[in-house]
C-alpha cells in the first residue's frame, strides 16, 4: 500500500447533538487521516457515528469541535455546495423530475460549465457506468441497480476530490450487491478518486477496502488494512464485530522483538502480537481466530486442552467447539475440509489445541 498524500484529515472532531443533559455525542474527539486514491471504509454498527462523520465531511452537519482538512485546507465551515466532495446517498436521492442525463449533469450545470462540456461529460459518465442507452429515461423508470449507477455517475461527474458513499449497496439484493462491489472497485481504480465508504457489513468492508476504520460509540477503535483488522484486532469490540473469534486469558511473561510472550492459564507459553503503543503487563486477554488453531489428539503436546463438545459440518469447513479446562466459553476451531478436517474426532473426545505461531494478538483491554 503506497503511502500517498493525505486527502482528508479529521482532527479532534467532536459532534454533539442537543445541549445540556440531553446532549448526545455522536463523535467523540475523532482523528483519522485518509490518503489520496484510497478506498477507505468506515465500518461499525448503526449509531456508531460513521454516517455522522460522513455528513461532516460532506457539509450537511458541522463539527462541534475540531477541524476537517481537505488537502490541508479546513473545510469544516464551508457549506456543502462549496466543497469539492460529492456523495452517493443511501436512498440514491435522484431528482425524480429529471432524466438520467439531467441528473448526471446537474453538478456541472451548477458549477456553470458550458452545455457542450456538460453533454460530453455526461456521455463519458454514462459509458463509465455502462448505461448509455438509458440517457433520456426518467429516474422512476429504471431499476434499483440502475438507479444506483446513475447516483454514482452523478456524484462522479464533477470529478470530486473525494467521493463519499453512504451505505450505497444496502438497498440491493444479495446478487446485485456482489456485482456492485466489483463495479465500485473498478470505478475507484479507473477514476483514481478517493472513496470514503460507510457500511455496517463487515464482509463488504473486508472485500472492497484498502483500509478500514472500525467505529463504535462515536470513536474510531482501529484503523488498518482488512488483513490487519481481521488478524490483529486490537480491541475486543473489533475482534467480535468482525468474524468469529476466541478470547483467552493469560499473563504477560515478557516482550521480545515486538511480540509478547503470554503464559496461558493452562500453563503453555505462546507469542502474540501487540497493538501499536500498548505496553502490556500483568493479566491480559489474547485473541485467536478459529482458523489459526488446530485440533490434536489428547496425548500430543498442545497449547490448550479440553473436551470436544460439538462438531458442526459447514460444507467447505467444519467447526469444532471445545470446552476448555477452566473456561466457560467454548473454544472454536475452523478447519478446511479439504485438508482432512472433519474426520477422526468425535464428541466427548479429550483433545488438545495447537495454536499457529504468531497468530495470537494481545487486546487493548
Amino acid at each position: 500500500m503506497a503511502a500517498g498524500q493525505t486527502a482528508i484529515e479529521a482532527k479532534g472532531v467532536t459532534k454533539q447533538f442537543g445541549a445540556g443533559p440531553d446532549a448526545v455525542k455522536a463523535l467523540d474527539n475523532v482523528s483519522v487521516s485518509i490518503r489520496e486514491n484510497e478506498f477507505f471504509t468506515l465500518l461499525g454498527p448503526s449509531g456508531c457515528g460513521k454516517t455522522t462523520l460522513l455528513r461532516l465531511i460532506a457539509g450537511f452537519d458541522f463539527p462541534t469541535e475540531g477541524e476537517i482538512l481537505l488537502y490541508g485546507q479546513d473545510i469544516a465551515p464551508l457549506p456543502p455546495f462549496k466543497r469539492p466532495v460529492n456523495t452517493v446517498f443511501q436512498s440514491y436521492a435522484l431528482f425524480p423530475h429529471m432524466t438520467v442525463a439531467q441528473n448526471i449533469g446537474f453538478g456541472l450545470e451548477m458549477l456553470g460549465k458550458p452545455r457542450s462540456e456538460i453533454d460530453a461529460r455526461v456521455t463519458q459518465m454514462l459509458q463509465l457506468v455502462r448505461m448509455e442507452e438509458l440517457r433520456n429515461r426518467r429516474t422512476s423508470q429504471i431499476s434499483g441497480g440502475q438507479q444506483q449507477r446513475v447516483a454514482l455517475a452523478r456524484a462522479l461527474a464533477p470529478a470530486p476530490k473525494v467521493l463519499l458513499l453512504d451505505e450505497p449497496l444496502s438497498a440491493l439484493d444479495a446478487k446485485l450487491r456482489k456485482d456492485m462491489q466489483i463495479e465500485l472497485k473498478r470505478l475507484q481504480h479507473e477514476t483514481g478518486i478517493t472513496f470514503i465508504f460507510v457500511t455496517h457489513d463487515q464482509e463488504e468492508a473486508l472485500t472492497m477496502s484498502d483500509r478500514i476504520a472500525v467505529m463504535s460509540k462515536g470513536n474510531i477503535l482501529q484503523v488498518g488494512s482488512p488483513r490487519d483488522i481481521y488478524d490483529r484486532p486490537s480491541e475486543r469490540f473489533v475482534a467480535n464485530f468482525i468474524g468469529e473469534t476466541n478470547f483467552l486469558a493469560g499473563e504477560m511473561a515478557g516482550v521480545s522483538g515486538g511480540e509478547a510472550s503470554v503464559k496461558l492459564t493452562g500453563g503453555s507459553v505462546i507469542t502474540a502480537g501487540i497493538p501499536e503503543g500498548l505496553k502490556p503487563s500483568g493479566k491480559v486477554t489474547i485473541v485467536v481466530r478459529p482458523e489459526h488453531a488446530d485440533l490434536v489428539q489428547g496425548e500430543t503436546p498442545a497449547d490448550l486442552r479440553g473436551v470436544l463438545e460439538n462438531v458442526v459440518y459447514f460444507g467447505t469447513d467444519t467447526h469444532y467447539y471445545v470446552k476448555l479446562d477452566g473456561s466457560p466459553e467454548p473454544f472454536i476451531i475452523r478447519q478446511q475440509n479439504t485438508r482432512g478436517g472433519g474426520q477422526g474426532f468425535a464428541r466427548g473426545d479429550k483433545v488438545g489445541i495447537a495454536l499457529e505461531a504468531h497468530s495470537a494478538q494481545v487486546l487493548r483491554d
Binding site: F62, P63, T64, G66, E67, D74, A76, P77, P79
Partner: protein, 310 residues
C-alpha cells in the same frame, strides 16, 4: 471549562441564521393576513357583544351586558321587569338535537361505506374516494336545492310514494324539521365518510384474521377489534359533521323556509331584519364556545391515540 464554539459551528450557525431562520418570515404574510382579517373581526365581534344596539343596525359605543341578558330574558313591555324567555335557548337546543341526529345517522351510513371502501382493492379505492370527494367539495347551496327538488309536494319522493300507493295525496315535507335534518344529513355525509375511510385505510386487516383465529364472529370482530381501533377516525368524522351542522345556515334557510330556525339563521337574522348586532354577536359567541368545547373534547380524545398499521 466553558467551551467556546468551534469556528465551524459559529460559521454554520451564522449560515443557518441566514437561510433556515430567514425562511420563517415567509409565514408572515399568511399569518398577518388571517390575524388582521380573520381574527380581528372575531375580536371586534366579541367587543360588539358588549355594546348597545343602534336603532338601524350597527352599534353605539357604550358598554352593556344587555346582549347576554336578553339571550335568556325578555323585558316586560309594561313595567320593564325581566322575565325568563327561553326562545333562543330552545333554538339552540333544537340545533343541538338536529346536529346530534345528523351525526348519528351519518355515522350509521358512513361507517359501513368507509369500511367497504377500505376493503376494496387499491385501484377501486381511488374511484370510491373520488366519488365521495366530489360531493364533499360541491356547492352546498346547489346540493341543498337538489334536496328541495326531491322533497317538495310535486317532487320525486311524493310522486314515488303515490305511485307505489303508500299515500294518495302528497305529504308536506318541505319546510319541516324533517326537511332540515334530511338536508343536513345530505350535506355532511361526505364529511363523515372521508375521515373514517382514511383511518380504516391504514387498518391492519391481519388483526381481523387474528380475531377469527381466536373464534370471534364477523360482527364480534367488528365491535371488538375494528371499531375500537378506528375510534380516532370516528371521533374526527363526528366532529366534522357535528360542528358545521350545529352552525348550519344555508340548509335551514332553504329547507326550513324561514320558520324552522337554527342557530345560524338566528344569528344572521340579528344582523339583518333584527337589527340587533350586539345580540347577534353574543349569540355567535355562545355558538363559538360550544364549538370550542367540542374541539377540546376532540383534542383530549386523540392526543394519546395509538398509531397502528405499518
Amino acid at each position: 471549562m466553558a467551551k467556546a464554539l468551534s469556528k465551524a459551528e459559529q460559521v454554520a450557525r451564522a449560515m443557518e441564521g441566514q437561510q433556515m431562520t430567514r425562511n420563517r418570515w415567509l409565514s408572515m404574510p399568511a399569518v398577518l393576513f388571517i390575524t388582521v382579517f380573520g381574527i380581528g373581526p372575531l375580536i371586534l365581534m366579541f367587543i360588539y357583544s358588549f355594546l348597545v344596539a343602534a336603532p338601524y343596525g350597527g352599534v353605539v359605543w357604550k358598554f352593556t351586558t344587555d346582549a347576554y341578558v336578553y339571550f335568556l330574558f325578555q323585558a316586560d313591555i309594561f313595567d320593564g321587569t325581566l322575565q325568563f324567555a327561553p326562545d333562543f335557548l330552545i333554538i339552540y337546543f333544537r340545533s343541538f338535537v338536529f346536529a346530534l341526529i345528523t351525526t348519528g345517522v351519518c355515522l350509521v351510513l358512513g361507517f359501513p361505506t368507509a369500511y367497504f371502501m377500505a376493503t376494496r382493492p387499491p385501484s377501486q379505492r381511488n374511484w370510491w374516494v373520488l366519488l365521495i370527494t366530489i360531493p364533499f367539495w360541491s356547492n352546498l347551496l346547489v346540493r341543498t336545492l337538489a334536496i328541495m327538488f326531491i322533497i317538495r309536494d310535486q317532487g320525486l319522493l311524493n310522486g314515488f310514494l303515490i305511485w307505489i300507493g303508500v299515500i294518495d295525496k302528497p305529504i308536506t315535507l318541505l319546510y319541516t324539521d324533517f326537511a332540515i335534518v334530511l338536508g343536513l344529513l345530505y350535506s355532511y355525509l361526505p364529511f363523515m365518510v372521508l375521515p373514517l375511510y382514511s383511518s380504516l385505510e391504514k387498518f391492519d386487516f391481519r388483526l381481523v384474521e387474528a380475531g377469527f383465529d381466536l373464534y370471534a364472529t364477523r360482527r364480534r370482530v367488528l365491535w371488538r377489534i375494528i371499531i375500537p381501533i378506528a375510534r380516532p377516525g370516528i371521533i374526527a368524522g363526528c366532529l366534522l359533521v357535528f360542528i358545521p351542522a350545529l352552525g348550519a345556515y344555508v340548509t335551514p334557510l332553504i329547507l326550513g323556509g324561514g320558520k324552522h330556525l337554527m342557530i345560524g339563521d338566528l344569528i344572521a337574522q340579528q344582523f339583518g331584519s333584527g337589527r340587533n348586532w350586539p345580540l347577534g354577536s353574543a349569540q355567535a359567541f355562545i355558538l363559538m364556545a360550544a364549538v370550542l368545547v367540542a374541539l377540546y373534547f376532540y383534542v383530549r380524545n386523540t392526543s394519546g391515540k395509538v398509531t397502528h398499521g405499518h
